[in-house]
Symmetry: C2
Subunit: 409 residues, 2 copies
Amino acid sequence: MNSPDAAQLGKRAEQMIRTLAPLSSEPDKLVRLFLSKEHRQAADQAAVWMREAGLDVTEDALGTVRGSMGKGPKLIIGSHLDSVVDGGHYDGPLGVIAAIIAADEIKKRGIDVAIDVIAFGDEEGSRFPSTLSSSAALAGHFEPHTLNLMDAKGLTFEQALEAYGKNPADIPKAAYRKSEAAAYVEVHIEQGPRLEAANEPLGVVTGIVGQSRWSTTVRGEAGHAGTVPMNMRHDALLGAAEMALAAEKLARAFKDMVATVGRIEARPGATNIIPGEVVFTVDLRCMDDAERRRAVAAFEKEAQAIAAARKLDVKFQPFHAIDATPCDRRLQDLLASAIADLGHKPLRLSSGAGHDAQAMAKLCPSAMMFVRCRGGISHNPAEFTSEADMGAAVAALIRFIERFAARTN
Amino acid sequence: MNSPDAAQLGKRAEQMIRTLAPLSSEPDKLVRLFLSKEHRQAADQAAVWMREAGLDVTEDALGTVRGSMGKGPKLIIGSHLDSVVDGGHYDGPLGVIAAIIAADEIKKRGIDVAIDVIAFGDEEGSRFPSTLSSSAALAGHFEPHTLNLMDAKGLTFEQALEAYGKNPADIPKAAYRKSEAAAYVEVHIEQGPRLEAANEPLGVVTGIVGQSRWSTTVRGEAGHAGTVPMNMRHDALLGAAEMALAAEKLARAFKDMVATVGRIEARPGATNIIPGEVVFTVDLRCMDDAERRRAVAAFEKEAQAIAAARKLDVKFQPFHAIDATPCDRRLQDLLASAIADLGHKPLRLSSGAGHDAQAMAKLCPSAMMFVRCRGGISHNPAEFTSEADMGAAVAALIRFIERFAARTN
């Protein structure tokens, strides 16, 4: 029997996506939270598929499913099974499914390579105010205080683990020793529009961007919308408007940077009152940490100049910052070669979103392959990746593993 | 005994302001709503003062107190007793108090002029979603549907009237016949900063501005704040920011126009999501109705251009429009002469806020005198007008009545 082509691989992936799709806590939308009944069902399904592929299946103290083949340092391939509330069917599951199909094919082809296929459960952070706890555990960086975090129903992470039949004391056993982990590779939908714009199905991720998030508070003077002449106003909203546009201009001026004002509130917030105070958030991301810090400083300087010109006061309150995680250069090149082998052009692009690969990079060389998704839409029921593109992704992953095996043997 | 000077008149006004100040439904802030127990108390106090001044006191079906002297067409002088929630002590009561003191002085001086002093109860619209209902009733323009409006506790205007001991059937009797009303004059705090900026205590109001209010809905495309490059975004908030700044620029370009974006909401409103939809209000005011309409059209055109450049959609939903009410030219000049007689420079300025004079202008020639207030602040506990400025206002009102009497006799 010949090896399946990309079209056949895509068909198989599509069937598996459809098998996982109904595993939701709500009938009309996808909600698959960490350590929920639906997580249990998805994990069991993944374990079934892993066993069918001839892998040895275990599950760690955070409910992460591991399917192993071969001896020696492992090529770890995986993604996550959990979803955001009202999410899509591809974000996470595609990477788990691609890894299972690829491992199955590699085994069938008799290629000698040690692989662990991984299905994580806590990437989205949609149940507890934590993300990447299951990949952090594998990387040996699980934060013990995570156990005290509470979900919307008042259940702690620890209580949820116990209800899932797990013993928190076993979490450290989930960690790989560095010598056991050769590399980590993850297939994931892009969640952005760049592959679609470039008309290419697959991309090689150069790294996961660093982020700075802060809130900006602009204070002016509230006043009667009818009685204060324009030239005597200190309108906090107009200052904030200029600052939001300045953030956009800055992000456009720096290379590969994005800046977003996602929340804004004008106070007191009445039609006929000049806003006296406005609070808005800025989320700024870039692969280059130094550039990101320069941009944050440039924004603050620009916002202060805008405030001064309008006789407003401005304050900045950072609430999140994380450095960039570059992907391993050699793994990137191997992924690019594998994609090129299939006749596609391997677009190099950064990931603006966080991924398990970020946590795994602390353990071993890590890399990611992105798969085109329609309209760049994710975290939304409209999320869609075609069977053909999934097939290309699985085929490229298989080719990557072959190249990886050839390189290490 | 000599006539009191401005300082003495100011002292008397200040004492009366202090007498009304505690009449509030809440202990630590001023809340005096239409047809409330505190309205009753304030109306009774006004009636006591009117009787002390030798006026014949009646009360109409909306609780408006009227103190009359003389025969023939009346010079009607008044303002309102109700407040906004957490309002100040001068907005409204100063005009009632000034009228009572002035009528008292005119009577003492034996000047032959027919005066009605009026204390309205529903200017602010802080209880029912209506304003100026009590002055509309005097002008013969009370809207019957007003009776069905509901307050925050679910009580209708009609029920509240009945609880206040009034019969809605008597409302038409509150109306003046045109032949009975010679003129309406109102003293009111400016509620803006222009007199203070000009270092003058008193101003002559040229008219009450017209208003257009509408909400603007900008639709773009929500997206992941990390994965959509800047040049592929359709960020509704950035479009809205440009439109708010365009409204400011427009208002500055037209003469004596103000435009305010007081409310703004970005949806979905998460730190890490590009806003897909933004709704904001615009409140635009101007004395010249044609100019105002031109400005609204210019804003729409400009907003559409901004939307087109960013590939956004924009829609406008008007929810309030009222034409300007010019003040009577001859009354304005009489007020200006009276102010000049006292040695002050009568600044001519429009009113950006609505007033009972707006409703009374439908009945008879109407005019207003503005009194300086600190920082232009009103609708706020920090609202303040000095004793000296109140004294100047009362003295100017007396002088105006003398001039008015001389002119009509």
